[in-house]
Point group: C2
Chain length 329, copies 2
Amino acid sequence: MGEFELIARHFAEPARALATPAVAVGIGDDCAVLQPAPGAQLLVSCDVLVEGRHFVPGTDAYRLGHKCLAVSLSDLAACGAAPLGFVLSLTLPHADEAWLAAFSKGMLALARASDCPLVGGDTAKGPLAINVTVFGQIPQGQALLRSGARVGHDVFVTGAIGEARAGLQLLQQRWSLANEALCAHLLRRLEAPTPRLAVGHHLRGVASSAIDLSDGLCGDIGHILKASGVGARIDGAALLQTAPRLWMASELDAMSEAERIAFAMAGGDDYELLFTAHPGFRSYLTELGQELGVAITRIGEVTEGDALIVQDARGEPVPLSAASFDHFA
Amino acid sequence: MGEFELIARHFAEPARALATPAVAVGIGDDCAVLQPAPGAQLLVSCDVLVEGRHFVPGTDAYRLGHKCLAVSLSDLAACGAAPLGFVLSLTLPHADEAWLAAFSKGMLALARASDCPLVGGDTAKGPLAINVTVFGQIPQGQALLRSGARVGHDVFVTGAIGEARAGLQLLQQRWSLANEALCAHLLRRLEAPTPRLAVGHHLRGVASSAIDLSDGLCGDIGHILKASGVGARIDGAALLQTAPRLWMASELDAMSEAERIAFAMAGGDDYELLFTAHPGFRSYLTELGQELGVAITRIGEVTEGDALIVQDARGEPVPLSAASFDHFA
């Protein structure tokens, strides 16, 4: 089966069925043509996932398809944007039909759920790598940026922090947990993260800064602190309380509180949102989390200076080991 | 040097200097934020170039950087769009500073010349592959598509067709030409094609269909014929006259007219535009070509049916060998 047929069968035909009214011309011309809302600003983000680097060979193709789109949608969520569409460029060592069928199903299921149609792409023979570029839109001037955190604002996270890293520990057989349901949950958190688009949308006009947690909280909050010219104090105990299912596992009893906090601070791949907001939004945010079914937890506050201080339950500073994951370190 | 420093030095810092007024937020946040013109439609295209597949190891890095952006800009040109910006995702086996410096210079020089700023990207360790996604804009409903060719319209090409394939013959040492200036020209045509953005812009409201020549005229015109539900008759002699420098080379005297025509029909990588237009535009297009300094040559006409017929100077049909290049054939 040739390149064009392969793309048509697994991507182009199902993608056409998902096109939204914003898609004036979808797959099949030199360019896709999209119609943003009047006056909207366009948001763009791209991510590449490489086999052996971002995922292990043999990763479930359906989940991989989901994740490759999810990580880019997560960037839109962090800016508060609504998805418009995405393009996919795929390098594949060979045209494995079963793999492509599962991969495209996983990717397009999330595309449908997120109103983010596939509008174009490219395919080539080569080592397995998946490139996704997503486009979103937002009313002018409303994009959430990294640069708006102010001293005295609260620091919040969505969801359970550290669970994806725990999933990686399981996958790499560094950890072994008896609770099979927990293991399945943690692996799912690593392999099929949920982009927090609805939360991001409701943070327009609320969050003073935002970022998604891809490389680890320690490094990612660092981007906000640098861009905003501020420091932060993180309450490690509050951070651990975001992931009660994880820390109840008896196999982890040997880990000290400081070790748990350092683990959660350095865990990548959660694809939750980290954001800052004026303290006046506390009750609004609690209600928002309940309404959307996503925990929104206050884990600290923005401080003067440029230091990131992480404290344990007694207020003692926790030493943090390696920061975020650097692909060329 | 870490990933972030590497990107900053060779891409982010020089890119910031190139930002246009349309870039509300460039590199350095979760998403880039672009401001399209009021009411504009957004055009998107992406291309991946893989080492060993689309270019040979050791390809000049400056030219490679140019080409990786040029092939995507060529898609915008084929739609008549004006560039807004692009994102780059790069997988590299290692962080070779000299290579990155040259590659980024080549890419960003074309970005500057095309008013197409780099607004974001991603980098990972892996086999060398370059992904570019470009965004353009055009007033609503004016994008040139593949589907508008009508019976009786003329078929035109820009530039010299077949020169890039000749460059590939030289590179692969299948051909040897004594004329060094010609060799340098042909290699440049292969390795550093010029996206025909100005021509495309002026074809708005003029061309009834358009495509860029990436995989070869034979396959590329086939996309127009299929999308428009028409056939075409191509004048092979007119096609050869687009590339007089090439066909004057005495080493090629042994090639018959039919062989030359088949060569030009199947040559990829020219990144010229192929378009159709009402015959009433003939003199307009001749003047346009002179004004822009780009040859615009009538090479045939749109016919009823669905056949592609290529004729030699005597009107005899030329048998065409393999069609366009299929990456998974």
